[in-house]
């Protein structure tokens, strides 16, 4: 397992019509959740919120596992989330999870390595100047990274290098400072009306 501090994250808009339609679709929960997770859902007072917390946790863990060189694939059931949402299990991995949320969204960060996770979630409409959600997440991450590192916003950039075999032909995003790679791992996510950025600051 990598010793480098790495992070994966996922955001779910709890009010998004498509998300709610998926939650209501017959067979959707059975496809995503393990039998134990479905039991917890059945006894939850807020089953849709609980489901989207599980979903975001699985997605965050999935992104992190890809960084660790794993190929979790399509099946969400291969990644099992503990009942307290504190960690995700996949084969020999136990990935720490940190959940945050509001009335309208949930955001989960999965991490490995001793590091301090920083994150920010924002409404898409507040990211003035961004032409699409992808650009908005990059703006948010640069803003967060500038605050955390003390570097100026303009020095920071997000890069995705070409990577054969990945789902879209590119590696996960990485943070550059003055054009040079940094040791700060980052993760981006957007859904519906919201965007999110997360990063891990390596131990000094």
């Amino acid at each position: 397992m990598s010793e480098r501090a790495l992070v994966g994250s996922d955001l779910v808009d709890l009010t998004d019509r498509d998300n709610l339609a998926s939650f209501a679709r017959p067979g959707y929960l059975e496809r995503v959740c393990t039998p134990q997770e479905r039991c917890a859902l059945a006894s939850s007072s807020e089953p849709s919120r609980r489901f989207f917390e599980l979903f975001a946790a699985k997605e965050a863990a999935h992104k992190l596992l890809v960084k660790l060189g794993e190929e979790p694939g399509f099946s969400y059931q291969r990644i099992e989330i503990r009942a307290d949402l504190g960690s995700a299990r996949y084969r020999g991995y136990e990935l720490a999870l940190e959940l945050d949320g509001s009335h309208d969204w949930v955001h989960v960060v999965a991490g490995v390595g001793a590091a301090r996770v920083r994150r920010e979630v924002a409404a898409l409409v507040d990211l003035v100047g961004a032409k699409d959600p992808s650009e908005a997440t990059r703006l948010l991450l640069r803003r967060l990274a500038a605050r955390v590192t003390g570097l100026s916003f303009d020095e920071l950039a997000i890069e995705r290098r070409p990577l054969a075999g990945s789902w879209d032909g590119f590696a996960p995003p990485s943070l550059l400072a003055s054009g040079e790679p940094t040791d700060i791992d980052v993760s981006l996510s957007h859904d519906g009306r919201f965007v999110a950025a997360a990063l891990v600051v390596p131990p000094a």
Binding site: V12, D18, N19, A21, S22, R25, P26, G27, Y28, R31, V32, F55, E59, H62, G73, F74, S75, Y76, Q77, R78, W167, D168, G169, D191
Partner: protein
């Protein structure tokens, strides 16, 4: 009656259309079109697509098979194999 590859292709495109964030790409879509990259179907909606394919074609798509589906052509071939 078995369906032709083109019939399956058209039906798959129709299934994907409401879930695509880049529906304009469907106009020029072919067998090599990537469902995630080109059509921008996100992972949550990919589950919807798989469930709709199962319903529409009366087949079961195992996770192991879904792992291999990257393009519309991959989905078409998977359907033709399972429905065969």
């Amino acid at each position: 009656m078995s369906m032709s590859e083109d019939e399956v292709f058209q039906k798959v495109v129709g299934i994907i259309k409401p879930f695509a964030k880049a529906p304009e790409a469907l106009a020029s879509a072919g067998m090599d079109t990537s469902i995630l990259k080109d059509l921008k179907v996100n992972s949550a909606r990919l589950v919807d697509v798989v469930l709709e394919i199962e319903d529409a074609f009366g087949i079961e798509v195992k996770d192991e098979d879904a792992d291999k589906v990257k393009t519309i052509g991959d989905a078409v071939r998977l359907i033709l194999t399972n429905a065969g």
